[in-house]
Subunit: 304 residues, 5 copies
């Protein structure tokens, strides 16, 4: 994620890093070159009776803009929901540990429970990003817990099960009444909601045909646009054609980034930083003194 | 569902499988042939005083695009809601079994309960797809349970009732306090929410007139479009006409697929894979070793 | 509600029953006749210096399409919410009876409670459709209950109160602990949510001025449209004018139907069928053998 | 609120009362007069080299229509949310009293509690409409309660506190177990949600700049429109200019009404009628015989 | 936040303070000057064969308006959600203290608890606005509490933990049953939801590329617009160009303000006033007599 401080409106026009421009530069360049070719070849193909006008492109442009707007909305909704789920994880993590600490203030294994919670957050992050997990999780789990977790097809869900057992043991030993166990268990359910919600977003893309139809119409539109513009604009064709193409193609490309919010691209969620914040928060709530350093944006204002 | 990995933007234009193109190819071909006929007959019907211009089609095109956008949104919302309901089933299934296992760790019939949960997911899937259920459910239910289930008009709801009885028996025998029974029962209610939500989506389509009006205006628009374009574009008419028709007709066709998310078409939900994931997850939580194989996409990236 | 199976795209264009076409046919015919009159009188009023062009209608058409789209969205949202509320009634009804049956398996009056639940659904339906209720409710309620219900200004709410008393009696007699009473009472609250939600939709229309402004602009637009089109299109004016009018007027008329989802028009909710499904479901859960016949669509695919 | 029964489409065009027409009539008249002035002065200012064309107004018109549509949506969302909050008050009021009556059937002070509930609804209504409250509330509250309520900066919140004390007294006296007190207290929390939700809507308008920008662009657009239309339409300018202005200005004016749903204008919520319905409902639930008369729409179909 | 009372529509056009006009005045002036330069240089660059027409700008204008509308929607949604979160804080604060006061009416430390609640609201506000907190919080917290809070990386979360300990102490001492502790603890969880929700909005902007693409296309559009308008409008170019630019740039600038609702700009949330209202409410509920003065809008109708 790019967390750039507010900037002067004029400088915004020239920003390169963090826009989708690097990604679509080739396509815009091709559009520019095509426009020049169209200007040069105009007399030749006009003599063949081929001509295009702007009017039908106006119909097409509006339709594509409307559909692109709806798709962008759908992709942005995925991004927002993903961020909300991680916000809920923050909420559930804090609430769960606050309840545990308030109701079991003298339990000697609070540190173990805090580490289970931290492990859950890291495990979810690494599952979503398909990263290897053993080394990281080994910091937080006992050997038995680690083995049990890595043997499971859903490691994060296994950690929840272990946390449930931790609490159930206290209940059986009489340290937790049924009602307080029920309350703490609801926090685990909240984490389960986050887990399955993230899995859903990661595994179910926006319907493929939706993406495909818009890609196709956007590119065909941009390819044919110079032919329509050249009659009226002549030498100005490349500039206007690239400007219109930029508007459509950049939003199409951005929608693609937002659709998968758990990646590590410029406009994806900073899961590393969120996990880091959860870890520091929980350790501080347990009054521990050794904390990991806080993750900050790099010099490109990038937070992963 | 098509789960195609990201592709080069240029190749996207030529994808055939998984787009709605195969379904609407005939209609686009007819549009192409009509355009050619219009070019040929232009002198004849102009001599009759018949002429069309692009301007009124611009009004119509924008209006149809807006309404089509709203309908697509409505259909996509059904798809998203259907997916969320199945995500909630995953959540409720895991949470229910985690609570059962944590609070009744020594119950000798946990395996029976896990199978009831798995049967519920499969039963819901097969009800929504109107598939025969006896053979599949026989793997998970006892004979008495199976008979009771198949005798009911709402088999999935009957399985919930059986699960409730399973828990109520433990309560009456004193293994579950009222508060824990209440908590577990809430998970059954969550499953009831999923069940009725899916039934609602399956039984209540988007209002028929909505679908009808848009179908009709889209097709009449595409049929009359060549007559309006030909005056300006002449030989280019078929290409532009097909491009505009493609934009409108493909989105209309996609909306139709998304409207019924429980089918087995390209853009429908992969219920088989979701049920498979629920089954593996629950069996692993019960520490069982014999698991069904995980369902993966076929060579067309298709997941059913 | 029309539940028509999927059809060939070409046949869709000619469907009559279930579209809003019968309702707006007169208006479209008037538009057609007006267009012909405009063609005939064109020389006369042009000589008076009166002329219209398409350009301002383009501005107007887009604006009306956008506003109509938003209003359609608002009306469709009411339809969807109404359907969701009835889905929640299905959920609450099943969950309530499952909990009652699981926790009071030996109660000799379960049949009475089931009938109270069924009476609630029918009572809500008939209240929303302003139908007389005594005869129908007499099938499910005792004489005392019926009198109490019909004396109330909110009969459905009274039935909830009676159900609450039924449960409270069991609590006072010691068959239900406070926690289970609390749980069952929450299901009654869910039904109360459905009741008040439906009353809200039925009693609070979309703001009248919203409906009025769009009606007025749509009709004035359609009336003046032929005058603008005739200059360019001449003999084709009636066809294009009717096509554009159809797009706008049909969506306006559909919005009107969706706005009141509890009626008995083509695009309204099939409350009879939903109540029938709830009744069969609950009776089957109580293992009763005498069930009412299931309501199916009539030959016009109509479900009331 | 206007609750006009469905009408013939033709009569809708001429409705005066209940539309926003009376409010914006002056502005439309000014637009009409300006258009006539523009026709008269056309030769003079054309000779100065001043001319306008429709094309840039087309860009502007579409942009304003889109932004106006979004603002209308935002204002309508406030109206809908406000109505939902009052629906929730209805739900919470009925559920609270049903629970109280079922669990404390023999309490001699049920009538006092019902009156506290009714007082809450009226107090909320009068707070939102900034009306004096003492006389009305004196019907429902004891003298001590009234004094305590009127001394508070948030009278409705104070009534909630008194209701909480009423319940807490029963708990301390042993008539309510903790779990039932907890359940009833949750209904008070639901009322607290309604209270703060209504305060939020009443105190936080749509951002002022949003309203301002749209007002300004709508009016500047309508003022300059006749200059652009006159070249093409000449004598028809006033009619088309007023029609377009009506579309934009009426929706702008309606949005303004919907933005403040608690007022007493034509399109505001009928809070008097809702409070009246709550009062009758609660008194009937308590089996009281003396009920206030039901509020019905006046001859203009107006319900306040 | 500007809370300006309703005004005459005509005066609205000339409002300066509270609109975004002061912020974008330079940009509009530059657009005006550019337009004049374009008029002057028209003959020169036309002779070079450079010309632009309005038609492609129509396509671009519609597309930008649609995308800008969606972005405005997204930013406004953040503003609305932020306001709702603060509304929920009001709800949770009142409900929590009502429950505490009703269940622990004789506790001698109620004043301490009220101050913890007030400190939470102020602490959240100052965290979101990155203001120094020690002096303000010292009014409400004991020295030990203050030290603990300021030592934490998440001060507001630490205050929640202290409140939890306050309640847990009462539970351990036998003044609160588990069920009432559970209920009160849920209110703390509600506050945790508000806290993490606000942190999410403050730390996760709308994706930077979204903002960037729209900025860039809006400004490039406005820069090139005069070149396209000048051919048709000549001397009127500056006025129309500035009007169109105003529509687009002002909405772009407003979206930027709404995106960060916790700032102190004209269209940001009045957090000072909300905290003040919470403080007065809670103190009055505790029957205290010394209240802080109520914060009112300043002479510019500005509420911070």
């Amino acid at each position: 994620m790019i967390v750039r401080p507010q900037q002067h409106w004029l400088r915004m026009i020239f920003v390169w890093h963090g826009s989708v421009l690097p990604k679509i530069f080739t396509r815009l360049l091709l559009n520019f070159l095509l426009s020049i070719a169209v200007i040069i070849m105009l007399p030749w193909y006009t003599s063949l009776g081929i001509k295009l006008t702007v009017a039908p492109f106006s119909i097409l442009g509006v339709a594509i803009a409307i559909f692109l707007g709806f798709r962008n909305n759908a992709c942005y909704a995925r991004y927002v929901e993903a961020r909300q789920l991680w916000g809920q994880l923050m909420i559930a993590s804090r609430s769960l540990f606050r309840e545990v600490k308030n109701t079991l203030p003298d339990d000697p294994h609070l540190g173990e429970f805090v580490r289970l919670q931290i492990a859950f957050a890291h495990c979810l992050r690494m599952t979503l990003r398909r990263q290897p997990q053993v080394n990281q999780l080994a910091h937080y789990l006992t050997e038995a817990q680690l083995r049990e977790t890595m043997d499971s097809g859903s490691p994060a869900n296994r950690i929840l099960l272990i946390m449930g057992e931790w609490l159930a043991t206290r209940r059986r030993e009489g340290h937790l009444s049924d009602i307080l166990f029920h309350s703490l268990n609801n926090r685990l359910n909240d984490m389960s909601v986050v887990l399955a919600g993230c899995e859903r977003i990661a595994n179910t893309p926006v319907p493929f045909a939706y993406t495909l139809i818009l890609h196709r119409t956007v590119y065909l539109f941009c390819i044919m646009l110079p032919f329509a513009l050249v009659v009226d604009l002549h030498y100005m064709t490349p500039f206007i054609s690239v400007l219109i193409s930029y508007t459509f193609i950049s939003l199409d490309a951005l929608a693609e980034e937002l659709e998968e919010p758990f990646g590590v691209e410029n406009n994806d969620l900073p899961l590393d930083a969120i996990c880091n914040a959860i870890e520091i928060d929980l350790l501080q709530m347990n009054d521990e003194k050794v904390l990991p350093p806080r993750i900050l944006p790099d010099k490109y204002y990038q937070l992963t």
